[in-house]
Each structure stands twice: as C-alpha cells, then as structure tokens.
C-alpha cells in the first residue's frame, strides 16, 4: 500500500478503515506500507500504524514499512516504532524477507 500526503488526525480514520478493510474483507495478512510520499506524520498517524501491527499480530500477520523519508524516520524513531515493526529500504526487500518465511 503506497501512502501519500500527511498522516495526522484528519487522515488517520480513513487510513485505519482502508487497511482494516483489506485485512478483514480480503484476508490480507502481510501489509506493506510504502511511506515514500508521506510528507508528515504525528502521533495520530503513528497510532494507526501501531494499531494495525497490533491487529495483525494475533492473526499471524505482518506489518512492514518501507521507503521512509529521513525526517519521517526521525519521528518514528523517537516513538520507538522501529523497535517493534520491521523497516525495509524498499518494497523489494520487504517482499524478499517474506519468501521462505
């Protein structure tokens, strides 16, 4: 899933519903979020990402994050998110790790 724009409280609900729709209706279990075109994230946006990780965990699913711009990564690092969720350079790396697992 490729995200763009600003992840704050005004976009959080839509993002949550979109990802949950994929998980609940389509049975998707590996969610890859490409953040290349995300310009801004705050704790509302991070909350949605962490919430999806928590939702996928008991389902045996995985959340992966790729292409994080440096200024966005700084915020994520401060939140401790990279200690919990796997970050990848790009989508290819994220797919690769899924194989054989």
């Amino acid at each position: 899933m490729r995200l763009d724009g600003e992840l704050d409280m005004s976009t959080a609900n839509m993002l949550r519903q979109t990802i949950d729709g994929e998980i609940d209706k389509r049975g998707i279990r590996t969610v890859i979020l490409n953040l290349q075109n995300v310009q801004f994230v705050d704790s509302s946006g991070l909350g949605v990402i962490l919430g999806r990780y928590k939702k996928l965990l008991p389902l045996g699913g995985k959340l992966k994050i790729t292409n994080v711009p440096p200024h966005i990564y700084k915020i994520m690092e401060l939140s401790g998110l990279p200690k919990i969720i796997n970050f990848y350079l790009d989508e290819a790396h994220a797919y690769e790790e899924g194989r054989g697992a």
Binding site: D8, F40, S43, S44, L46, G47, L50, H71, I75, L78
Partner: protein
C-alpha cells in the same frame, strides 16, 4: 529579528490541524529556521492542536481552538488553548505512553517536550487547557544578504 504576533481562532475540526501546521511552517521559514527545526515545530503544533480537539473537546466540532504565536528577538512562543473538559491529572497525562485511547500512542506530550525548549501545561477541569511551548533561538540568524 522583528517581533511579531499572530492570533488565530479556529473550529475544533481535524482539517484545521493542517492549517495550524501551515502557519507555523510559514513563520518558521520567515524566521530562517533550519528545515529540521520547522519539521519539529510542525509536529509539536500538530500534537498540541490534536490534543485540544480530541481530548479537550472530545472531538465535538462546534468549539474553538485558540492558537497564538509570539515572536521576539530570541524566542518563539506558541500557545494552544481550548475551553474544553480540562485534564484531571496533568502529570499523568504527560507521561510517555499514557493514553486514554488504546489506538493512540500517548506520545503527544513526548513529542512536544522533545521538539521544544520549554513546555508548560495549565489545565482546569471543565474550563480548559493551555499548552505553552517555547523555542529559544540559539543565535540570531545572520541576514542572508
């Protein structure tokens, strides 16, 4: 640096968080702050305004958020005020990972604290909350030309 004062009052709706960020980014650019500092100011403002809307006004849209900026020679003061429900225990609310909502990370105050040089929170139950954040300019940026 010229002193400056901006007071903006807006409805407690999510769309206005982005407007508040745009304003602080413009002021930061005018002050010649480094891009990184501007990004940090945007996050701090976003957190303070989101808190006012989500917690202060419990997402009820027909309320007002007061956003006040004050620039002096060596400081930038940002105050975000609501007339909402107030915080019963400010100390507890400011703890990392304290959140009243499991979908939220409880990091709002952590970000404000990390990205600003000073943070004060005044709150009275049923009267509202004022978050005051300060940025001290380490040195007066030299004129570019």
């Amino acid at each position: 640096m010229k002193s400056n004062q901006i007071n903006l009052t807006f409805s407690s709706i999510a769309e206005n968080v982005g407007i508040a960020r745009l304003l602080i980014a413009s002021v930061g650019a005018q002050l010649d702050l480094p891009l990184n500092d501007i990004e940090e100011l945007k996050v701090a403002v976003s957190e303070a305004v989101s808190n006012a809307i989500i917690h202060g006004y419990r997402n009820i849209p027909n309320n007002l958020v007061y956003f006040d900026l004050e620039v002096t020679r060596d400081t930038l003061k940002i105050a975000v005020r609501d007339r909402g429900c107030g915080i019963s225990n400010v100390e507890q609310a400011m703890q990392p990972a304290f959140s009243t909502d499991p979908e939220r990370m409880g990091l709002g105050f952590v970000f404000m604290q990390s990205f600003m040089d000073d943070l004060q929170v005044e709150s009275v139950l049923e009267e509202g909350t004022t978050v005051t954040m300060m940025k001290y300019f380490k040195q007066t940026p030299s004129p570019t030309h």
